[in-house]
């Protein structure tokens, strides 16, 4: 079985999570080759073949050309699987490659299942589905963090790869992350507001608990998107990554993108009216209650 792994470069650097592709391939016991649109300096620590397309020529983001590069390598390597990370690069490019190769695609794989199946989350991570792609090659995207990062070691044999054509999307540039507001990474206690808190007017109740515990207030993304709190308070893949001694998740369901930012916390308390909410998977304590009833009661008792 052969896997073609698609690495990712951004702003001249190999993205660390590209090593999760090797972790996945090793779990599957597959032979590997990698394609990277990058530069000599972005090569992974890996002794296999790396097909290197020049990022100066093809751009780090140019999906219409990148799909042709993948196709060119697929023709040479004849892999059984073409594997991407499920990231802004991977979910953008993978369906284009699948369409071009007339290949089945399975998105956001979290585990290998028996008989050539793949396990993936569905229903906002609450449930799991096993699916079986029909035909080869198969295009896969992997959920970040589902497979361990593995640095195989060694120096790659580099093969240049090229493709012709024009891209339909013109890349204009990157914009750095806005890093303003509270630095949650240094907080020992974080009490985070989720959509389950109900409305902006309820936030002071949560903030009061944070104050009593001597901590900061965090937020899930919808809370920021709907303007209840500043972007600087957001925890998760597109916000801050935190590891306080105590993290209290108030009305937060536990989407993977949120968990990525807080699962390393020392102790996690979740307050949720839904016993099945995925946050239970990382929590040390799950309080099944209405957050707007429980939090004031807890704060009152702590103040006493």
């Amino acid at each position: 079985m052969k896997f073609l792994l698609i690495g990712e470069c951004r702003e001249g650097k190999l993205l660390e999570y590209s090593y999760e592709l090797f972790g996945f391939a090793s779990q599957a016991g597959a032979e590997t080759a990698m394609l990277l649109v990058g530069e000599e300096g972005t090569l992974p620590g890996y002794g296999g073949t790396v097909y290197l397309a020049d990022a100066g020529k093809y751009g780090e983001y140019n999906p219409d050309l990148h799909k042709r590069l993948v196709q060119a390598v697929v023709e040479r390597e004849r892999p059984d699987y073409v594997v991407f990370m499920h990231t802004s690069y991977g979910w953008d490019l993978a369906p284009r490659v699948a369409a071009l190769l007339k290949a089945p695609q399975v998105s956001e794989v979290v585990a290998l299942a028996e008989g050539g199946g793949f396990e993936r989350p569905c229903l906002s991570q609450k449930m799991r589905q096993v699916v079986k792609p029909q035909g080869t090659p198969v295009v896969l995207t992997l959920q970040g963090g589902a497979f361990p990062a593995l640095v195989p070691g060694g120096t790659p044999q580099v093969q240049p790869v090229d493709a012709a054509g024009e891209g339909k999307v013109e890349f204009l540039g990157y914009e750095a992350a806005a890093r303003k507001g509270v630095d949650l990474t240094k907080a020992e206690v974080i009490v985070s507001v989720g959509r389950g808190v109900g409305k902006k007017e309820n936030i002071p109740v949560i903030a009061e608990l944070a104050r009593v515990l001597g901590g900061e207030v965090g937020a899930s993304r919808p809370v920021v998107d709907s303007g209840w709190m500043d972007a600087g308070n957001q925890v998760g893949v597109t916000g801050q990554t935190v590891s306080p001694k105590l993290y209290v998740a108030c009305g937060i369901s536990g989407a993977i993108q949120h968990l990525a930012g807080m699962k390393k916390s020392g102790f996690i308390v979740a307050i949720n009216k839904d016993k099945d909410a995925p946050i239970a998977g990382v929590a040390d304590v799950l309080v099944v209650a209405d957050v707007m009833q429980f939090v004031p009661a807890l704060t009152a008792k702590l103040v006493k």
């Binding site: 802004s88 979910w91 369409a99 229903l123 449930m127 589905q129 079986k132 999307v169 016993k275 008792k301």
Partner: protein, 258 residues
């Protein structure tokens, strides 16, 4: 200008899900359905663009699914869509993302849409495939994960959200597909008069058999709850008792309470 917005109806994510008789997907009994969250941003963006261009563009709201999805189409119309298309398919949930995209592309191919907006992903299945695949099938330019959108003279400038808060700006010419990420705009709540108006708007019904010409590429084999990873202590019951038990645990297990 013609704009198409693809919306999917999904179950309320706070529901309890149980496998149906097939064992490969969830049973619909007792579930409430709503518009896929990401697709509300797509509808809002279409309506904002229509307003920006003085009402000239025509906004079509399309959904593939059983008769219940007409509710979702009506919501799109009450937010400001002009007309609806219901691709009637009682077994839409059995199609893979590829088939759903091919159905939508087969409808769109003769319609000459300048812009097609979809969600980044659905909340139930979440493949993040349908929008991009439609673009590939129609040979349209495509940008995903939009958190910023500007349009002028046939050019769309999209701010794409990347990891860690970084964004990437891209420019594409219509015809184009853009997939919308959470936070792109503030989806409006339909007003009562607009809900009434929406009732009168046309919803064209197309049987799926007229548009489906592709075989399934991914077959479902199992549907279940994830293995419980954590060993969370679950506190249920009386509020006062829950409070006391939590404080007890925090004193015991963390150095936070003195």
């Amino acid at each position: 200008m013609k704009i198409l917005v693809c919306i999917k109806q999904v179950p309320d994510m706070e529901s309890r899900f149980k496998p149906d008789a097939s064992g490969v997907w969830f049973a619909e009994t007792d579930l409430a359905f709503r518009v896929n969250e990401y697709d509300e941003y797509a509808v809002e963006q279409a309506v904002l663009l229509k307003e920006q261009l003085g009402g000239e563009p025509e906004v079509t709201v399309l959904s593939v699914g059983a008769d219940r999805v007409v509710e979702a189409i009506k919501k799109g119309l009450s937010m400001g869509g002009d007309r609806g298309v219901h691709v009637q398919d009682a077994a839409a949930h059995l199609k893979d993302s590829w088939q759903v995209a091919s159905i939508i592309a087969a409808y769109a191919v003769g319609e000459g849409f300048d812009l097609i907006l979809t969600g980044l992903q659905s909340q139930d299945r979440g493949s993040a495939q349908v929008g991009v695949t439609i673009a590939e099938l129609l040979d349209y330019a495509c940008a995903t994960t939009a958190v910023g959108f500007e349009y002028a003279d046939g050019t769309v400038t999209v701010k794409r959200e990347l990891e860690g808060g970084v964004k990437g700006t891209v420019r594409l010419k219509t015809p184009a597909v853009v997939t919308c990420q959470l936070g792109l705009n503030q989806p409006r709540y339909p007003t009562l008069p607009n809900i009434m108006k929406a009732k009168k708007k046309e919803v064209r019904v197309i049987p799926v058999a007229e548009l489906l010409h592709q075989e399934q590429r991914v077959a479902p084999v199992e549907f279940r709850a994830p293995a419980r990873k954590g060993s969370a202590v679950v506190l249920e019951g009386e509020l006062a008792d829950q409070v006391d038990r939590l404080i007890g645990i925090l004193k015991d297990k963390t150095a936070v309470l003195r």
